[in-house]
Symmetry: C2
Subunit: 235 residues, 2 copies
DNA sequence: GGCTCGGTATGACGCCCGTCATACGCGGCG
DNA sequence: CGCCGCGTATGACGGGCGTCATACCGAGCC
């Protein structure tokens, strides 16, 4: 069993984009230090406020980054396979600023803080990757803030799905498909509203054929129609 | 006159925290490459979407970072003396994700992109400073997002001034003083609401003695009273 | 089977707050 | 001086959406 895990780790290290540029020896060293962690849906990777001791890389599944607010939670980001989680908290030696929750079955590659620093020290390209990741995060956060501002809930939800479509949509017979299982609750937390409101919007759009909820996916028959719904509703 | 400017630059480089750890020779080199820029209130340092070619460091005055949204602008951050502006856009070679506007008379130390990279290359500690800055930005953004969510406008404004007080408040005879000139418009943009609403809240608080607007400053007679106003208003 | 529980759906109610309108003091400028 | 623009202030109105309540459905479990 141990052998099996060790093998999984080696394969993972070879496949992860962050480790792509490393020499086979370094890859081996990392594999020796890393460990695996499997979680099921709803499990918590780390809690807001905990000290950040390990770098986590997603091998499989999706992780949502949640910040608790006094008026409910906000989903800040959703990470998928290949992406590092909470790299910045570990790097800066600060407590996690938000919580991480598994959205389905998730496999993680865990690297202790010390080894992570080692890596940074010896491979500047690795550090550059971290900065790039941070920048991306920053951009998405500022955009989210600007979108949150003032806009009606309907507009925000439409924009959410339009950007999702842009990032992971694929052409399909009946329209654009977004292969992503999101509950109405999660949609609400992503755009900053309540479950009831998100349900109302989503089910009306379902009736009107604007945005169809399927098993573990969404369907956008017409991107233009949805974009129009984002702009106004007075017709 | 040129001499005068050169002298100002040298002094500035010596004083800026980011250059603190550098050798005198490096400081001299930077001073030789850097230039000064003086702006008056309302001037634009850079516009959203422009290519980021120069790193700017604030010597004097305040700069607000603004993101244009379809429903109005949002103030993402306010930088003051000693802080770098838009370090991340320059670093990543991406266009400015938001605009920078001078809030009063502002003096900037400008460093061309190339020289900035040079600096990063040769001084890892400098790079670490940038990452730290990025992290701080990230934290404040996520907190802003969580606070924006759902809360009533009154709560958001109260929280804004409480955090401002925490960061730059000083004890005073009549209470806590925040030495910061902010128009109602700017308050509105910081918490994501309209001018009218921010005016309503602020003038009522002025009448009730909760938060007094003065010439270029605000006064908080009782931090507890304000914190209570943030929680609820049903009494 | 019946129970609970979580996700989805829909209606009623109320109020915060965005929108529009008006007014006033002040500084700058021709 | 009169005019304009800007920041501040206050009122009226209406609607979006948060809150509370109820109901349906499927999954898991005893």
């Amino acid at each position: 069993m141990i052998d099996h895990r060790a093998e999984r780790i080696q394969i993972a290290v070879r496949l992860l984009p962050v480790f792509r540029g490393l020499s086979p020896e370094d890859q081996g060293r990392i594999a020796a230090m890393a460990s695996l962690r499997d979680l099921s849906k709803g499990d918590v990777l780390f809690e807001e406020g905990e000290p950040a001791e390990t770098l986590m890389l997603i091998l499989e599944g999706r992780v949502k980054i949640v910040r608790h607010g006094s008026a409910g939670d906000v989903i800040l980001e959703i990470f998928t396979a290949g992406e590092p989680v909470a790299a910045l908290a570990v790097y800066n030696g600060i407590p996690y600023p938000s919580s991480g929750v598994a959205m389905d079955r998730v496999s993680l590659l865990c690297l202790p803080k010390r080894d992570y620093f080692d890596l940074l020290e010896r491979h500047p390209s690795f550090a550059r990757g971290i900065i790039r990741e941070l920048t991306r995060l920053n951009l998405s956060l500022t955009r989210k803030l600007a979108e949150m501002r003032g806009q009606r809930v309907e507009t925000r939800i439409a924009q959410l799905f339009l950007t999702l479509a842009e990032r992971m949509g694929r052409e399909h017979a009946e329209g654009l498909e977004i292969p992503l299982g999101l509950s109405r609750q999660e949609i609400a937390e992503m755009v900053g509203t309540t479950v009831e409101t998100s349900i109302r919007v989503m089910s009306r759009w379902g009736r009107e054929g604007l945005l169809i909820t399927g098993e573990g996916r969404f369907l956008i028959p017409s991107r233009e129609k949805l974009a129009e719904a984002a702009r106004a509703e007075d017709a």
